[in-house]
């Protein structure tokens, strides 16, 4: 069965540090990949998505992600985090069964 894995459950960084959150998916066919952010008490917001083309995808709020097919990875990056980036981050994939499946999420805490 298709799955999305996020191995970092909780990441703590200082402001201005660089961020990389790991995401791996298990599916050999065409993949559509997403990163969503959920601020405390809020709903899911789409950060970026990849369907085809340039494997380096730029999203909102300075986030980007790189699709590496050979590694089945879609890691999220940001060169310099801010306190306001404190949130839960979910990697997701659009499965062949026509629904979005989510990873377990990574909680990002930023020290001011």
């Amino acid at each position: 069965a298709q799955s999305v894995s996020q191995h970092n459950h909780h990441v703590i960084l200082s402001e201005a540090a660089s961020l990389e959150l790991g995401c791996n998916y298990s599916y050999g066919g065409t993949v559509n990949l997403f990163w969503y952010v959920q601020y405390p008490g809020q709903h899911l917001q789409l950060l970026l998505k990849y369907f085809s083309g340039d494997p380096l995808v730029k999203g909102i709020k300075g986030f980007e992600a790189e699709f590496i097919k050979s590694k089945f990875s879609f890691n999220l990056r940001k060169p310099s985090v801010q306190w306001s980036d404190t949130a839960e981050y979910f990697c997701a994939a659009y499965s062949s069964a026509s629904k979005i499946i989510f990873g377990s999420g990574t909680r990002l805490s930023i020290r001011p």
């Binding site: 559509n32 997403f34 969503y36 809020q42 709903h43 899911l44 917001q45 789409l46 998505k49 369907f51 979910f90 659009y94 069964a97 026509s98 629904k99 979005i100 499946i101 989510f102 990873g103 377990s104 999420g105």
Partner: protein, 113 residues
């Protein structure tokens, strides 16, 4: 632009009561998905509808049922509520089941006491 609308935004129920959550998709979207997100958990797919027919089913308890109406809005009916049903319930909509334009609603936070 219009987004996915969910009502109510917050709901408090007692054990064994029933609850109905509503989802109004983005205009012209014909596919609706329901997700359940427990405290500290990732969203779990419950059920989806395309053109008023159930298109996929996930980990939805038998106590829950859902349908999509002719105007494409959807309702999630939950009966014999249990404490463990307390969660954030998201609805999402898309056009013809396409991932390219799947949008999530703000969610309904259900608390079962």
């Amino acid at each position: 632009a219009a987004g996915v609308i969910q009502s109510p935004r917050h709901l408090i129920k007692e054990k064994r009561e029933t609850a109905t959550l509503k989802c109004y998709p983005i205009p012209r979207h014909d596919t609706v998905y329901w997700y359940q997100q427990g405290p500290g958990q990732d969203p779990q797919f419950l059920i989806s509808f395309y053109e008023k027919m159930q298109s996929d089913k996930g980990s939805i308890p038998d106590r829950f049922s859902a349908q999509q109406f002719s105007d494409y809005h959807s309702e999630l009916n939950m009966s014999s509520l249990e404490l463990g049903d307390s969660a954030l319930y998201f609805c999402a909509s898309s056009l013809t089941g396409g991932a390219t334009d799947t949008y999530f609603g703000p969610g309904t936070r259900l608390t079962v006491l």
